[in-house]
Amino acid sequence: MSWWYAHRSRKHPVADPQPSEADVLSWPPDTPTYQKAIRRLFRRQIRVLVPTIPDNFFGLDLLPDLRRKVNEPRLDVLFDFSDCKHLSQQAIAFLGGLARLVEGSRGTADFAWKTCRPKILRVLQANGFTNMFHGPIGVAGAHSVPYREYKRADPDSVVAYLGNSWLAPEWLSLTPALREALVAVVLEIYLNAFEHSQSPIGVLTCGHHDEARRTLRLIVMDFGVGIPDRVRMFTSRPTLRASTTMKWAFTPGATTNPIRDTIRGMGLHLLKEFVRLNHGELRVFSQEGLAAVKGTRERFVNRLVPFQGTLVDIMFRCDDRRYGFASELAEQPPLFG
């Protein structure tokens, strides 16, 4: 449709301003081809260089910058891995989220798979990430927890994912009780994300089983309203520090969505206790708040680089010897006593 612009600019070179997209879209003819051509005029193509993202706090601080680069509508984004030597599990979930965010803003997201180092590509193929984003299909990895996206609350599907994929029986020897305990306690992270976050991309998840260290890792992420803002809104205390809101959220009975007489808000507390008793690690990044539980230590701090949304990073030791929600498992006091 360039003749249309050319005609107008020749006739009114200065006085006539550039038409807005709305003006142009309302102009007939209203055919799909015309609309597509016009939309293309208002698009911007960018190439986003994915840096090396290590599996630590520094790596996590690099993620918000990536989001800033794609934070506008109608972008055609190409993620380029030329500079990337390592991609953490957190970064994998985050990249998937970014791609869906771009697509949700009427843009397109592609990955330059040829720029990917073989080691990284193997990881992305093993967990099915490349498959989700039209990349080269590879062999599913024996110790890779599949990358999944949940657009809406589907607890039964999450139970199946946790039981069959995360705790895959072929590479993990767990007692049925430990398997059930892990599913029950981790499931609540998903329930919280579905219920509270209003995430535009739903909930994304991936993970990894480290055979040498005998650890099991799971990442659950959303780009919705973070815990600090939800607590601030609920308590009508807009100046609360993020660390305080995180501590509050981990207290039993704390919920930002009370329903009648039902007691709620046990999920994070139970998870914390389970992690503590089973010598695992838990890190919850939400906006500028961080809750970290490692063994018996726990800390709630403010971070300088905020994470827009919530990222839960759980690591358990694959050890059948200790598990449970309480240390006094041998005792069986009356339920209601």
Binding site: P155, D156, V159, G163, A177, E180, A181, V183, A184, L187, E188, L191, T235, R237, L240, R241, T244, K247, W248, T251, P252, G253, A254, I259, D261, T262, I263, R264, M266, G267, L270, G324, F325, A326, L329, P334, L335, F336, G337
Partner: protein
């Protein structure tokens, strides 16, 4: 003694608050009639705390723990489910019968340290 088959009412996975609602209503009705109730979890694979809060925890509001101990029996619940239920009951007891527990959350917010002078905001009031 009436037996409530949780699997029939809910299904394989007892997870959400909504799933706990019919179980709660049924148990509450029978207990209010003075009957002894048996809750059978046979066939249930996974129990999560939101379900247990809605189905069992809420009973603590209207019934004393001693009455529940006598009149509500739980059957075929896995060891993990039993541990979770214990946690839920413990929490509900605190919430409904310990007035101080309700203020605990408020205290956490009041204890916030002011970054400007290092004092707790509650100290200033």
């Amino acid at each position: 003694m009436p037996t409530i088959q949780v699997h029939t009412l809910v299904g394989d996975n007892c997870i959400t608050l909504e799933q706990g609602e019919p179980v709660y209503r049924e148990v509450h009705r029978l207990l209010s009639e003075g009957q002894t109730v048996q809750l059978d979890f046979a066939g249930v694979a996974v129990c999560a705390s939101p379900f247990l809060n809605a189905a069992i925890g809420r009973l603590m509001k209207d019934f004393a723990p001693a009455d529940l101990e006598k009149k509500l029996t739980v059957q075929h619940l896995t060891s993990v489910g039993t541990q979770l239920m214990r946690k839920v009951i413990e929490n509900s007891q605190r919430y409904y019968h310990d007035p101080d527990a309700r203020n605990a959350l408020e205290r956490i917010l009041d204890e916030e340290v002011d970054p400007t002078d290092g004092t707790a905001s509650s100290d200033k009031r």
